[in-house]
Amino acid sequence: MWAFIHKFGSPPWFFRFASTAVRWLLPVVIGALVFGAVWGLLYAPPDFRQGNSYRIIFIHVPSAVVALAGYYVMASAGLVSLVWKIKMADTAMRAVAPVGAALTFVALVTGAIWGKPTWGAWWVWDARITSMLILFFLYLGVIALFEAYDNKAAAAKACAVLSLVGTVNIPIIYKSVDWWYSLHQPASIKFTGETAIDASMLYPLLVMIAAFYGLFALLVLVNMRTELLATYRQSAWLRSELG
């Protein structure tokens, strides 16, 4: 176990791992996204109340779910960076932030587009939408904070603290539909008890959620690999790796 963690902290090992993983993930993730999108757009039946507008669910829910999960990844990397001062954890934190921001942005935009035909408004200050907007600003804050420091160690420390403090927002997003009166419906997919969604819609949704998780991993690995190329451009190991 410790040897495993040690390997992940080693830039040369991680560079090799990321290069191989990206090569495998790229076709799998793109294939899964196209498959899931075609299934959801053209083959799944329409919703009996919302008609075809509900097809936005196949990108809206996966992007929101992974944007939230991604925040945990970033905050965990921040914790590792604060406690053990492992540089790869800083790199990971920095790589997750733009991916999380993009996914949160997609969740907000697709939500607005879905809201118009369904609720009659592009935007409402509903508890879940507002807390997702805060999530978006937290991701942007981490990106901006990294750029604001010249000293990388100080930047990583500040970003780690910000992302750890921001985790308080995540349970609020999850619970927002139960705590406040909201236009969003409570969770339909449950780990315990009956799932309130038909299999013909559930399966493409699960495919898309899995595809978005894969996409998250792919984007983070690509960012980390590129970051390593920039940071270690003078290092002998990187030159022999590329040579």
């Binding site: 329409p46 075809n52 990108i59 993009a102 118009k116 996409l215 984007l219 451009r233």
Partner: protein
């Protein structure tokens, strides 16, 4: 397939503009997030290789000492 024609799939009984624009925006944003760091990585790798070749070309001249 649920829809009878390409036209039906595009209009989606009035919801087509919403659904298709949501998908197009999503895939454009995500494609940018993927392509931008990939291109930057390729540029960096090319610069590092070029630097390496330059140094390899200079090295024998330093050690040899055979002035032309």
């Amino acid at each position: 397939m649920y829809f009878d024609s390409v036209n039906a799939a595009l209009t989606m009984e009035g919801h087509g503009a919403f659904v298709w624009s949501a998908y197009v925006i999503t895939f454009l944003v995500l494609a940018f997030m993927l392509v931008q760091p990939l291109l930057r990585g390729r540029r960096l790798a090319r610069a590092i290789r070029a630097e390496q070749r330059r140094q390899a070309a200079e090295l024998p001249a330093e050690g040899g000492g055979h002035a032309p």
